[in-house]
Symmetry: C2
Subunit: 484 residues, 2 copies
């Protein structure tokens, strides 16, 4: 490890500044000792942080070794110590997970305390190759295959202090050689958490096997990760732009997006937006399952009126906006969805009303009725006598069996004969399925009936028998409007 290469890794790849302090996580193993030594050579101000996982009785000896090295380098030393095994048991985490959580928590806390520009850790080029292969085998897509970054923000730990990994530029062999050359004496941790059985097999069996196919396999995979990081950033930028385009509402427990905007996205962007939505709603998910994303992709291309289970209690369905365009809703089961955009009628609001008249609904809508005289000598054209909006209906007043109209909710057995369908009526439930009306909107949807027959479904269509014809003399005009 030449000084120029260390400088390149630190200043160019990891974008460290030479003057402000870096907190270095030092376990005492070869990687972190080498990292500490390398950064110290560059004269960057450092803080050495060691975390004692308390997994071995003698683990405090490692702390003593690291403290001594820090003293030799004349660098401040901070020590954290926690009962990782106890924390793992308490949280239901694996030992590795618990160790990582507590360690990073400690490192970033200390970084904030010391106003460090970054937390530096000792992952090396071989770790990178192993990580890429683990992600390949786990199926975590581009974001996994790009491996670890020289510099990255992990919002879980800190929104602005980055984690940097300058040693990603160096192989394990180079690091061990550096330790020998510089007389560094790494501690040996028999429980080494970073080398689980699985990772060890990857390291000692899979990679050498891959090298029988291509002796340069390590380098090739390392370079592939680097190139994929650039590709992933391009996809990420496209996904973020699309997210802004598609998002209607993001609340705890649910996310609402514009369906039409989602439908025109490239599938790679669509998948990214879906992964982002699922990830925001279920932050504890590590990889978003292929099949879960696929279910949403499928629904976007062929939406229907039902609900789809995505993954871990997340539900997917479409609902309609006032304008008639559809929205896609991804929600946790039981999330209190905001239904303020819909006209809804509470049971106690069911009532009769007169013409002209006005009924105010507690959901923030108002029904207005009035009648008009049709005066026209021009030839009758039916389409002139249909309202332009879904929230207004023009009906033939004379054909109503009663002047007393009812405003009511759907009832079992309701039937409806939508405008344009002459001859027979259909079940209201079938009508709504055809119209992809969201299930959760139906139960409290306001209907207008006369003499027991539905004459208008606001937001949809008037009933065929009550349409305006050339014989109509008086026109009943009904409007449902949101109260400003």
């Amino acid at each position: 490890m030449k000084r120029a290469h260390i400088a390149e890794a630190a200043f160019e790849f990891s974008k460290l500044k030479p003057e402000s302090p870096v907190l270095v996580g030092v376990s005492g193993g070869p990687d972190s000792l080498c990292l500490l030594d390398g950064l110290a050579q560059l004269q960057i101000p450092l803080i050495v942080a060691h975390f004692d996982h308390q997994l071995r009785p003698e683990s405090n000896q490692d702390a003593a070794v690291v403290r001594k090295v820090a003293k030799q380098l004349n660098v401040p030393f901070v020590l954290g110590s926690q009962d990782v095994a106890g924390f793992a048991a308490e949280m239901g985490y694996s030992i590795e997970e618990a160790a990582r959580t507590l360690r990073y928590q400690f490192l970033f806390e200390q970084a904030r305390l010391h106003s460090a520009q970054a937390v530096a850790v000792g992952h090396n080029a071989d770790d990178q190759v192993e990580t890429v292969l683990m992600h390949l085998l786990r199926g975590s897509g581009l974001s996994g295959l790009k491996g670890m970054s020289f510099r990255t923000i992990l919002p879980t730990w800190d929104e602005s202090i980055p984690l940097v990994r300058p040693l990603l530029a160096f192989t394990r062999t180079e690091i061990l050689e550096h330790c020998r050359e510089r007389g560094l004496q790494p501690v040996f941790d028999p429980t080494n958490l970073d080398t689980s059985f699985y990772r060890n097999r990857l390291r000692h069996e899979l990679i050498p096997f891959l090298e029988t196919f291509n002796p340069q396999a390590r380098q090739v995979i390392w370079r592939t990760a680097q190139v994929l990081e650039g590709d992933a950033a391009v996809v990420q930028a496209a996904v973020e732009a699309a997210w802004q385009q598609c998002l209607v509402e993001e609340e705890t427990g649910y996310i609402v997006m514009r369906l039409a905007e989602l439908q025109v996205l490239l599938q790679g962007v669509q998948r990214g937006v879906i992964r982002l939505a699922i990830g925001n709603l279920l932050p504890q998910l590590r990889d978003v399952d292929f099949a879960a994303v696929d279910r949403v992709v499928q629904f976007i291309s062929q939406p229907h009126s039902g609900q789809v289970d995505i993954v871990q209690g997340l539900l997917l369905f479409a609902e309609m906006e006032e304008s008639g365009s559809s929205r896609l809703v991804i929600a946790k089961a039981g999330a209190g969805l905001n239904s303020q955009n819909w006209p809804q009628l509470l049971p106690e609001e069911e009532q009769e009303f007169t013409i002209p008249g006005e009924v105010v609904l507690s959901s923030g809508w108002k029904l207005e009725s009035e009648w008009l005289i049709r005066r026209s000598n021009a030839p009758f054209n039916a389409s002139d006598w249909q309202a332009d909006t879904r929230w207004e209906a023009w009906l033939d007043l004379a054909s109503l069996s009663s002047r007393l109209l009812e405003l009511r909710r759907p009832r079992p057995g309701d039937r409806f004969q939508p405008l344009g369908l002459s001859g027979h009526s259909m079940k209201l439930s079938d009508f709504w399925i055809n119209e992809k009306h969201p299930r959760r909107a139906r139960q409290d949807w306001p209907l207008v009936a006369a003499g027991g027959t539905i004459v208008w479904i606001p937001g949809f269509r008037p009933a065929h028998p009550y349409r305006v014809t050339e014989n109509t003399q008086r026109v009943l005009r009904l409007r449902l409007r949101r109260i400003p």
Copy 2:
């Protein structure tokens, strides 16, 4: 293989239309027989095409078998036959490469002849996984890791007829089972070209080994490829948009791009644009080398006046536009670059000229000289007396040692004292290096001198000693203009 799945693979994934003919490449092996049988079940009109590679004495027996199957299905049969080994020797290709080249040539020729909507071939899901792993080990980045597509245009063979691979949706096991169930009798090709030693080891050793890490490794890799295909399309779209933005000129042998536009791209897009440029100039390159791309990335971030060897004789350098902004040139060594944008002076065009006067250059430029009287009582402000454009100079006429100006090319030992640098002069060659003036432009660059001293370098700066000062009474105005 259920009929519904075959239909999904053919119509949905491969986007085949049910009515127009598909040309199916049938070797007689299990994959292609199964493909033929599956598509025939869907009632798509088919043409069976068999290509005899003449690699075994008895290879024409395969053709007979396939012909018989086609007859049973009542489907037209076409036969191609060529001496693959001879072609390989002649072209310096491997046998596999030669076989693929001649086979695809034949298939697409026949597809055009029969107005087929697509050429279908029998690659299956296991082939896909093997392909992804081969690309991972070879280091061909995202475009390799996405594997094969259900439907793709290969411009080498046809600009509009796609290659489709419906069997990518099915595993080898499913295909063999389908053959058994439907009584299909595949031929056995002992030289099976698609299963080279390398691929065989991948199939029989590497993949089973990966399954000891994750029993679902095959499925995971298959799905990863599918997802990466979407990601690759997002990157591709960004690269194509950037290409349009950056491209100045694309000619046989060289490509010119705007440096400033390249510099602001995301690195993933930048790499894509560079790969596209290199690929267009060297279409025979299969994978564009990481390091080659890196050299260009490096140059874009820190351009200099030298030339860089990219790969296989491709050169990289920067040159200036008339406006002063830089362009990046990627050129084959010896490509006749278009220098029409530069003023260039041929040896026989060197001459003296008078004031006022005019000299026309064969490179399409014109030098004009005139003098003006400076009449001003206002306080002198030096910056008012510098020309606004790099192609015009205002000088103090009285300070010239001679009224006879020379228009000449650079000479060894030329020195220059650029405006603003008082006290000493510098080597002309150093000045040009500082200015990043392309080497190939320098030799014929027109200079204006008086009494042996350079007074103006058109496109750059006038000489300091000849600048207009408050004592200037007569101003010499020089202009170099492109002749419209």
